[in-house]
Symmetry: C2
Subunit: 338 residues, 2 copies
DNA sequence: TTGAAAGCGCTAACAT
DNA sequence: ATGTTAGCGCTTTCAA
């Protein structure tokens, strides 16, 4: 025999419906995809036959024929990082409403895994949302050449992207620390490849420069609570009185590490996080920089769905502002010698 | 013209490779799917040509021909609920390693959305992981009849499922509270449709009965921090001295609400969460019942991939034990009249 | 070990 | 408004 002998056990095809409804297969096809071209009565008869037989579309066949899949993919470096779930959720919700199913890819922060995922997925999706991609620019452009991609927190000229701009929040954070009397702050960086980290680092340097605050950058690599905890030694050694962490998870780790050594926050040291993912659930409640990952998800989904609906590529650059959310971890005043 | 005029701009097909490698299309196909049938040298030449051209498989075409898609789906009630990301992550990782891409569905806790997702997805996946499904048993069985389903935290006879058994942790929690002198505890329930909630409720009732502890159940609906916060009034009215929350998120909300009213945890009241998703990042560090959602993800993925690999359905019932993780929120002793 | 040919279920140009 | 026909990219029998 040839081809596929036994697909899903007893799958009902367009041909079966055609037979039952007494029309051609094209007519059945049209009854589903372009019913306005058909006699309403014919459509009715076809749909009735379909229901009776329990017909379900074979998407693979349709995709093969049209080149369209009705799927999009969202890939993230780490779905367990609390920044991403709200984003993924909005993308999934909006995509679903527009009739798309969504693939999830988790690159585990590694660029090559991301490359594998995207190339594997590109064969069955209409487009991509790449959140904080670790891929190099060339590979991203290459991908975008075959399928529209929308970037989140990565700024590549000519591609659609939604960017969370940390400068607003960081300006406020620096002003806040300055007002409190701090003169030296350590920044616990995120992954080198992370656009977000580069932005935060640069924005912090600018703001600190203006305010006359000294910034010591401490490299951390993959952001994690454990990483934050282990960074405490270095922080203490620097004699800084405040720390700004790459994200809330790291900040939480720092606070845990500080607590382990009996160091009080905010009396002895101030801590500021980023992303506002841990809300007020830390001890003490964490001062942080908002990030609105859900808003980023909305924007990304709208961008992608817009491109898919219109067929026209976009190089929109939507930016999302941030601000400082002051909570308990920066309460105490640090006056010089205080 | 007929059929598809312009698929992905310049997609490389088997035919292109065949031309370059100077073999037939069947040979190219075999080089990928059954290389052991071919002369190793031929395989090498074909793969070289494929690499050179930048070939990527058209999964839709393969699926159409074989009836297999190479995709699985994981559907959750709320990806933003911290219980699920670690689970999803493990499923994604193991599925990827086995050559499957994964669809993510988020039902937003509503059964009909879940039904839509699963039926939409069943046309392009090999199988499902349904985490804490809100669907009724009939619809789940129906789905399982067409594609293998692995359930997480839902116990349906005859289906493959992985269950987190709360009784170990709850027994310990009750013993712990009893030892501390508590006599009345409120349980803040989760969604009614939730198997986990039913289990927790029942296990708690059993344990409390044995220990002579009074349990007051307070309905909460969708678990959220805000819900926990708003439940504080009722908790206080009940005059209970301890609360066990459906999950850590709710527990965190309770603590926030308590703090707002100036009520000290654990001096005035003890709080215990479930799932250990917030680690020690709360204030004070939350006593909780472990849940190991990552382990559940591993088990679910292994079950599903096993079924897909062997072609044999499974009705395995894997259970994951829990235990109490004591932290600061239950430190103080409540002796009668104390 | 390899090639030829048919067909998976669907869509779309073309004809009517 | 509907039927005819070819073909999307792949796998698989069958023949060599």
């Amino acid at each position: 025999m040839t081809g596929n002998r036994k697909t899903a056990s007893t799958s009902v095809t367009i041909g079966d419906i055609a037979r039952v409804a007494g029309v051609s297969r094209s007519t059945v096809s049209r009854a589903f995809s372009r019913p306005e071209l058909l006699n309403p009565e014919t459509v009715r008869r076809v749909k009735a036959a379909a229901d009776e037989l329990g017909y379900v579309m074979n998407h693979a066949a349709r995709a093969l024929s049209t080149g369209r899949f009705g799927n999009v993919a969202v890939v993230v470096p780490d779905i367990a990082n609390p920044f991403f779930p709200p984003l993924v959720r909005r993308v999934q919700t909006l995509a679903d409403a527009a009739g798309y199913a969504v693939f999830l890819g988790d690159s585990d922060e590694i660029a090559d895994r991301e490359a594998n995922l995207t190339s594997r997925l590109s064969a069955q999706v209409e487009g991509f949302v790449l959140a904080s991609p670790r891929l190099d620019e060339d590979r991203i452009r290459e991908l975008d050449a075959s399928r529209p991609v929308v970037l989140v927190n990565r700024d590549i000229e000519g591609l659609a992207r939604v960017l969370i701009d940390p400068s607003g929040g960081l300006d406020e954070a620096v002003a806040h620390l300055h007002r409190l009397g701090h003169t030296r702050v350590v920044y616990l960086s995120g992954p080198r490849e992370s656009w977000s980290d580069q932005q935060r680092r640069a924005a912090l340097a600018r703001a600190a420069g203006r305010a006359g605050l000294e910034v010591i950058v401490q490299e951390l690599g993959r952001p994690s609570s454990a990483g934050g905890r282990d960074a405490v030694g270095g922080i203490l050694a620097s004699e800084a009185t405040a720390v700004i962490a790459f994200d809330d998870v790291v900040a939480q780790g720092v606070m845990a590490g500080l607590a382990l050594r009996g160091i009080d926050v905010p009396r002895d040291i101030s801590v500021i996080g980023c992303d506002d993912t841990l809300a007020s659930g830390t001890h003490p409640a964490l001062t942080t920089i908002s990030a609105a990952s859900a808003a980023a998800g909305d924007a990304a989904a709208e961008l992608l769905l817009g491109v898919l609906a219109s067929g026209e590529r976009s190089d929109a650059r939507v930016t999302i502002a941030t601000h400082l959310v002051v909570r308990a971890t920066t309460e105490a005043a640090h006056t010089i010698g205080g």
